[in-house]
Symmetry: C2
Subunit: 227 residues, 2 copies
């Protein structure tokens, strides 16, 4: 559903730095074409039907953006956390972006969506809006190159160690409740290879494996694998 | 060496769409900080010493931009042909770009370089310049994702076939005068794997191998591998 102008002003002022440079008409247009949505964990939000969904602002939860190959292989590019805006779901705004990303709700999520065609219209009129959209995309460019370097240049032990370390830091817990299959998907590797490496790590006393997932028991050793 | 204002105006008007939106001061500043350079084939232009070289406009020849790992592995991201501008060598202009690319002259090349710190100053004052820099980077973002998809999703036979096809189309010749080592570098694979696949292609009557390089003898079969 779309929302009241007062609420809209608050949200835009907080998350979109171009707000102060909009005309009243542009503000009204954006607000009347911004809507709130809730997506259950695992729901596809953008990409399978390849339309210009629009700019997606995450209020709560987490979205995952990934590339999908014809035979179903995935490469996770990045995640969007609360307060972050995804512009790659607005290909009609960013005409130079010629690839398709798929975006799923990784957790139960609440988001605001600004309609793509409306955002494109305002961006065409207002250089600040276009500038914001481009800058948002360039930031993700760096993330993607980082992923590429992880995949291409790091060996598997390092890649898994980096992933576990990041998860641990993100959740603040030594318990990582994910299957080997899920980890393999995130780091774009094969499940078998991940399982073998995790068993090797368990043998080294770095972690324990159980049905529930993984428990880190030696942070120092894990850290050493990364540096 | 830097060049005359008259020549500068011509070059900027032709290659930089922001020229009409600059003040006279900004025009003078850019022109007095733009210089011409010639680089012999194989010369490193940017990246090993990690400074903000600036915007590089290719006049003749060809530049190659790539990622370099600690142990010397390379991933070619894209090439710059005459008339194209590289902004990723101006990290002080594009603050959101946090990765380092290396840029070499792939052929004998003539380029114009706009000093990075000066370009950054003008971009800070003038939204059109910043916009140009961001848009230039976003275009390369799509190229990089394409490379990533080639590497991650395509199997080796397709990757080599795509490479040979592109080279053939680019040079207009059925002869590809490159070593297997060079091809392996371009497609980010191992030399042994490339040699094996080329021998397989030769066995299939797609190409002939000799000391000089590769000669395509069946374009139709090569094309079939790609589609």
């Amino acid at each position: 559903m779309s929302f009241e102008l007062t609420e809209c002003r608050l949200v835009y002022r907080k998350y979109f730095p171009f707000w102060d440079n909009l005309t009243d008409d542009q503000r009204g247009l954006l607000c009347s074409n911004t809507s709130t949505h809730r997506f259950a964990k695992g729901t596809n939000i953008h990409g399978i039907e390849d339309v210009c969904t629009g700019a997606i602002l995450v209020i709560s939860g987490c979205l995952r953006a990934y590339l999908l190959s014809e035979n179903g292989r995935e490469i996770t590019l990045y995640r969007f956390n609360p307060g972050e805006v995804c512009m790659l779901s607005a290909s009609c705004v960013l005409k130079s972006i010629t690839f398709d990303v798929v975006i799923d709700a990784e957790e139960d999520s609440e988001v605001y969506i600004v309609r793509g065609d409306i955002m494109a219209r305002v961006a065409q009129e207002n250089l600040y809006v276009e500038n914001y959209a481009l800058d948002n995309a360039v930031k993700r460019f760096s993330d993607v190159v980082w992923v590429m370097q992880q995949i291409m240049f790091l060996s598997l032990d390092k890649r898994i160690a980096v992933f576990l370390w990041d998860e641990m830091s993100k959740t603040g817990s030594m318990e990582i409740k994910m299957t080997h299959e899920q980890i393999a998907k995130y780091i774009s590797s094969a499940r078998e290879a991940v399982t073998r490496m995790l068993k090797y790590f368990a043998g080294e006393g770095i972690l324990e494996l159980s049905r529930k997932g993984i428990r880190i028991i030696d942070k120092k050793k894990l850290r050493e694998l990364i540096s």
